[in-house]
Symmetry: C2
Subunit: 191 residues, 2 copies
DNA sequence: GGTAAACTATACAGTCATGTTCAGTTTAGG
DNA sequence: CCTAAACTGAACATGACTGTATAGTTTACC
């Protein structure tokens, strides 16, 4: 579905893209940017910025929405259903890892500004991929059935984020992470 | 060691206590409080507040420091070394759980204000209890040795926090959490 | 009961961010 | 090439917060 097209001029379109990219960049760097920060970083006037995004909240939400939509698309393209549960899990980890590495801080920063419930709702799409995967694994007898699926999904993402934090702290290299993750995740999922 | 006693009057002492409690309360409620907020919530004048804590940063750090010191003390008193590793793990979970429930948000809120490195340094004390426990379990052959201890500790806390988040989200009850946690944690730690 | 410590309210200075208005310039696109 | 869309900087109004200073009142404690 094409996003509703209110006949924007090409330069406007381009600037919006620039703004969103710059905002993401700033957030990924760890700071909650002010509108002035965004304008400066984008090389765009503050007034123009406001003409595209009526408030900072809207801007941040849009940055988040795009990131999650992107992740969702990538996970969808993996065609997880065509693999065995264990293979699919490894695939998800190896694919999600570099993406997570880029989006993790954005999520944390946004968390402070917009509510956790908004964030959660946005995230649900991505969560569902893992949820389906786990349910399939349970049906096939590969994964444990003595704990709620919700909990297994929650631990899955918690462990993923833990790895990201460990990389940040310098106690783990980004290259070592996937293997370690798959090993730990299988431990939590196996019967 | 008695904290250095610069001859404060009893009412001052009492007010400081009140301020710290109120600040903790506000942070636990999910908001990063301003100095005015703290003063109002404490029923104490803003000027008095400043006379005890020269800046907001100092106040927040002190709140955090006390929380961690308290946790550390509780964990120390458990005498973990006198139990088997698996029993000690269960004990840590059951003990840490209610404490975590009260301090988790404080930590998140503080994170936004003071740097992550300050927070990390403060947290290290608590982490060491779990670190020692895991190393002891490895030596006894009860816990796995194919992953770094640092990683096992990181997953331990990540899973604990995940449970807290699930309770927040209403997908898990606080009462069910400990059993689920112990089960999951043992899965990640067993060889 | 006297004195210094501690508290209070009010007021002020300074900073920073948000969002808006205006008047003027550039540029996309038919 | 013309016009409307898009952009620009400068200025303005507003509000929140941080700290500090002042002058006066209450209270702990010897």
């Amino acid at each position: 579905m094409p996003t509703s097209t209110p006949k924007r001029r090409a330069d406007a379109e381009r600037n919006i893209e620039t703004i969103l990219r710059a905002t993401h960049e700033l957030m990924a760097h760890g700071t909650l940017p002010s509108m002035s920060d965004v304008a400066t970083a984008s090389g765009i006037g503050r007034v123009t910025l406001y003409s595209h995004f009526p408030s900072r909240e809207v801007l941040l939400e849009e940055v988040l929405r795009r990131g999650i939509a992107h992740t969702d698309q990538v996970l969808t393209e993996l065609a997880l259903d065509e693999q065995s549960p264990a293979e699919a899990l490894a695939l998800v980890v190896r694919t999600s890892w570099p993406i997570l590495d880029r989006h993790r801080r954005v999520r944390t920063i946004a968390l402070a500004e917009i509510g956790p419930e908004t964030l959660r709702r946005q995230h649900d799409a991505a969560f569902q991929h893992v949820g389906r995967l786990i349910e399939r694994g349970r049906a096939a007898g590969d994964f444990r059935t003595d704990q709620p699926v919700d909990w297994l999904v929650a631990t899955f993402y918690a462990i993923l984020h833990a790895a990201a934090d460990e990389v940040d702290a310098g106690r783990l290299t980004s290259a070592d992470a996937p293997a370690l993750l798959i090993s730990t995740l299988l431990s939590t999922l196996r019967p």
